[in-house]
């Protein structure tokens, strides 16, 4: 459904951050991306939904046999594709001074006309859908609160609700459980995992044990290239290689 083909991205100083990254993702998959910090995991996710433009390579979203190239698109066309890709950012991305419900509703802005959104014309149906998205992640009771009053775990759950309301076919998550305590980490990932019935999820993780518990597949990046792509249960020698200076391994 998603095909990433030979993504290369240079840093402003000319150094290569990502070199020829390629992989595919299908509906039902929960892919965990691993790698040392600074290796370019976030940039890779940003290249996928076009927030960052890669120097070469292409990203193709193929929904219902209608392949669409994401990079190189602009304006209306880019927005139409982005509508199909949800994103949960590192830390929180909520608009702090809007209410929780309003934050969820912003997930639908891609399909709501400019005039209607300016006049605040969210329909009852949309509000109901937003509320039920909040219910699915167990925070419906927070709907009227301002986003800035929530705890970190609650914010991430609202971010998931926003992605649910958006109804994407691909969800990108950049360290969705960073800065969360173990209990909240579990809660958030337990809500995230069942979403793979409807979409593919690609998430960046710090902790390999979370990848092995929740993901269906792991991709590891080192020195700008994919050095591992396979089972989420990584062996200790593979992990040593990814995070340290262990011997090279072949991808499984």
């Amino acid at each position: 459904m998603l095909a990433v083909k030979g993504i290369t991205k240079k840093l402003p100083d000319g150094r290569l951050l990502l070199r020829e990254i390629s992989f595919e993702a299908k509906k039902g998959e929960f892919i965990g991306i691993l790698g040392e910090s600074g290796v370019g995991k976030t940039v890779l996710l940003r290249c996928i939904n076009g927030l960052t433009t890669p120097d070469s390579g292409e990203v193709i979203l193929n929904e219902d046999g209608n392949p669409q190239k994401i990079n190189g698109k602009k304006g209306q066309e880019l927005r139409r594709i982005r509508r199909r890709i949800g994103m949960i950012f590192q830390g929180s991305i909520l608009v702090k001074r809007l209410s929780v419900l309003e934050n969820v509703l912003t997930g639908g802005l891609g399909r709501i006309s400019t005039m209607r959104s300016l006049l605040y014309g969210f329909t009852d149906k949309e509000v109901q859908a937003a509320l039920s998205a909040l219910e699915k992640v167990g925070v419906k009771h927070l709907a009227g609160r301002r986003a800035e009053t929530l705890s970190g775990g609650e914010m991430q759950r609202v971010a998931i609700a926003r992605a649910l309301f958006q109804e994407p076919c691909l969800l990108l998550a950049d360290e969705p459980v960073a800065n969360l305590d173990p209990k909240n980490t579990e809660v958030v990932l337990d809500y995230l995992k069942p979403l793979t019935k409807e979409m593919a999820i690609i998430a960046v993780f710090h902790a390999p044990e979370l990848v092995s518990r929740y993901c269906t597949r792991a991709i590891a990046i080192k020195d700008g290239t994919v050095v591992y792509d396979g089972s989420p249960h990584l062996s200790s020698s593979v992990l040593e290689y990814i995070y340290g200076t262990g011997p090279a391994v072949k991808s499984a």
């Binding site: 949800g86 909520l94 608009v95 702090k96 309003e102």
Partner: protein
């Protein structure tokens, strides 16, 4: 002077002599300008002293203030006219400023040309004194509070627009990107990610500007903008000093009250932010 400077440029010579030499040029220029200005103004203590009796005469004629002038209701009407001139002018000016600020802010990624044009308009307005603006508007639109209101609106754009643009430039960029990532367009991003973040600052700055504009509205009255400023000017021109004092008292209370209220509102808007 230059010969001396070159003779004392030895290393480590940062003493009194060096200090004196370094500031000799600046000091001389400053004193020359000051001296010339004093001569040009024709400042003379004698003139000031000979004016003092007139001052005491004026004060004597002002007292007791003629409160009857307020009884007709005309002054109250003028107060309302001045207040609404400042209010509508500030409101309109704030809207214009916000629109301009959107184009001038460097984080909304509009083209450089648009940005520079918007900044140029604001800079040009700042360079245009209010007095010049009202004289132009009076010729264009005619005498009266409508000209005053337009003058206040345009006159607010330079400073408010700059403050608004700076507020927009300091917003958290993450919510902006997050809305872009769901496919929201620029207008939607501004409405749902930028505006909520800058609103408290916009309101606080606009309230502050209202205080300034109320004083401007008084002054515009004298030049032909109507309102209570005009009443005061008229009373003074007709040597009705007792009337003038009563009107001044009204102006004093109006400005004082307006500032108290806007202070209170501003603290409410900002205070709430601090609490949360």
């Amino acid at each position: 002077m230059s010969g001396k400077t070159s003779a004392t440029t030895g290393q480590g010579d940062w003493g009194y002599q060096r200090y004196f030499q370094r500031h000799l040029l600046t000091g001389t220029v400053f004193l020359l300008i000051l001296g010339w200005s004093v001569v040009d103004l024709g400042i003379s203590p004698q003139l000031f002293l000979s004016g003092l009796p007139h001052f005491f005469n004026l004060v004597r004629e002002m007292f007791p203030p003629n409160w009857e002038v307020l009884a007709s209701g005309k002054v109250l009407w003028s107060v309302l006219e001045t207040l609404s001139m400042a209010f509508v002018g500030t409101f309109l000016g704030a809207i214009l400023s916000f629109l301009l600020a959107l184009f001038a802010a460097n984080n909304l990624a509009l083209s450089k040309m648009v940005r520079e044009t918007a900044r140029g308009i604001m800079a040009a307005e700042r360079a245009l004194p209010t007095l010049v603006l009202i004289l132009l508007l009076v010729v264009m639109i005619g005498l009266g509070p409508f000209s005053g209101m337009i003058c206040i609106a345009i006159g607010s754009v330079g400073s408010l627009g700059k403050l608004f643009a700076e507020a927009i430039e300091t917003v958290d960029p993450k919510p902006i990107e997050s809305l872009e990532s769901v496919g929201a367009n620029k207008i939607q991003v501004i409405r749902f990610a930028v505006l909520p973040q800058v609103l408290p600052s916009l309101i606080a700055n606009t309230l502050y500007r209202f205080d300034i504009n109320l004083r401007v509205a008084l002054f515009l009255g004298v030049v032909g903008g109507g309102g209570i400023g005009f009443d005061l000017h008229l009373a003074m021109s007709l040597f009705k000093y007792a009337d003038a004092l009563a009107i001044t008292a009204v102006i004093f209370i109006m400005v004082w009250l307006a500032e108290k209220i806007s202070d209170y509102l501003r603290k409410m808007v900002i205070g709430r932010e601090v609490l949360q």
